[in-house]
Amino acid sequence: MSFKLFELLLQASIYTVTISVVSILIGFAIAILLSGMLLSLRRHLVLPARIFISFFRGVPLLVQLLLIYNLLPVIGINVPSVVAAVIGLSLCTAAYQAENLRGGFASVPVGLVESAEMVGLTPGQIFRRIKVPTALRLTLPALVNEAILILKASSLVSVVGIVELTRMAQDLAGSTFLPLQLFASAGLIYLVINWIVALAGGLIERSLPGAPR
């Protein structure tokens, strides 16, 4: 296998990383909203969030992608397939991240909040300065995990015709008859990307205030 082929795979992997990062960020924004709904005491807010989470965690991502890709045109929305892919990945990761965030907020120690009340912080200040940083610290490992899962899951958007890493490997394997080398190389690139993400996650975790040293 020539270096030219590997270079093409590397170029395609930029697409993989971009799609994953964008989806993680959009998913995180939706997840904040969802976890807020889950933690509210109003039933009409909790139930839709529960159903959303149950659906997107209970249906395979591939099926979600097929649904979104084929359904959007039917209801009259025509978007490029990359947008459909990002929507699918974002909604799916939002469901998982919402559960993580809910867990994070639920495990903020009560004593911490009480002592903040004692020293006279307002509820808004307690939320911004105590609850959010503590919950984020608690959910960061899960977030890194989720990022790795999405990087791997983004290989599925190849089925809606987006030429990211997996699709590039597939196309090249078809034209060069080197499937073994190409898929192994693609796997290696995924492995390296995920390794970097895990490493970066560990570094951020240790650099956050209040980290054990």
Partner: protein, 222 residues
């Protein structure tokens, strides 16, 4: 937008067969993955440092690469090393190996988490090694590995959909084909999503039930 359920009713033999293949792959794949994972965990625990490191590397590779890439390697790369497989066996092998990597980690943490003191206590009251394994190690481990194992079974259930890409005739492939032939994507894909949703929820509930039933073996405060 119309919703014509008759399209699906007319095709029921194909759909039932697809659902059967999906469930068959899931059940056999999960059992094979768990068995293989258990062997991996035992080998890493008792096989010495070299075996542990070598298997650890394989597990890390399997967990760090997408399932789709692994399936492509088995199905399209296999023939180049003299391993030509039909889609179905290739899919079964792929899902078993992929699942085994995760199961081995689950069992490893299970081995480690049974407190040494419980085993020593068993020795003190004169239990044989066999009794210790049967009456202390396995029950306590079962309680620990059950929740993540159910989780893994659910993940493997969802991964079966990926096998449609290498043309395994399971439900996703069947319903996608019906969707494109009859131009009934909405009906076919809704039915598909519903099938997985119900099955995954059901499996999760069943796991919770088993957990409650087995909670008398629980020794940790969680």
């Amino acid at each position: 937008m119309s919703f014509d359920i008759n399209v699906l009713i007319e095709q029921w033999p194909a759909i039932v067969s697809g659902a059967g293949v999906t469930i068959m792959i899931w059940v056999f794949g999960t059992i094979a993955a768990a068995a293989l994972g258990f062997l991996l965990a035992v080998a890493r625990q008792y096989g010495g440092l070299v075996v542990d490191k070598a298997l650890g590397l394989i597990v890390a590779v399997l967990r760090g690469t997408p399932f789709l890439i692994q399936i492509f390697l088995v199905y399209y790369g296999g023939p180049f090393v003299g391993l030509s497989l039909d889609p179905l066996p290739a899919g079964l092998i792929g899902i078993s190996i992929y699942g085994a990597a995760y199961f081995s980690e689950i069992f490893r943490s299970g081995f480690r988490a049974v407190p040494r003191g419980h085993i020593e206590a068993g020795e003190c009251v004169g239990l044989t090694q066999g009794q210790i394994v049967r009456r202390i190690l396995l029950p306590e481990m079962t309680m620990l590995v059950l929740p993540p194992s159910v989780n893994m079974a659910v993940i493997l259930m969802k991964e079966t959909a990926v096998l449609s890409i290498i043309t395994v005739p399971e439900l996703t492939a069947t319903l996608s084909a019906i969707g494109s032939q009859q131009y009934a994507f909405v009906e076919a894909l809704s039915a598909l999503a519903l099938f997985y949703w119900v099955l995954v929820e059901f499996t999760g509930r069943l796991g919770n039930l088993a957990e409650t039933k087995l909670s008398r073996f629980r020794f940790f405060n969680a």
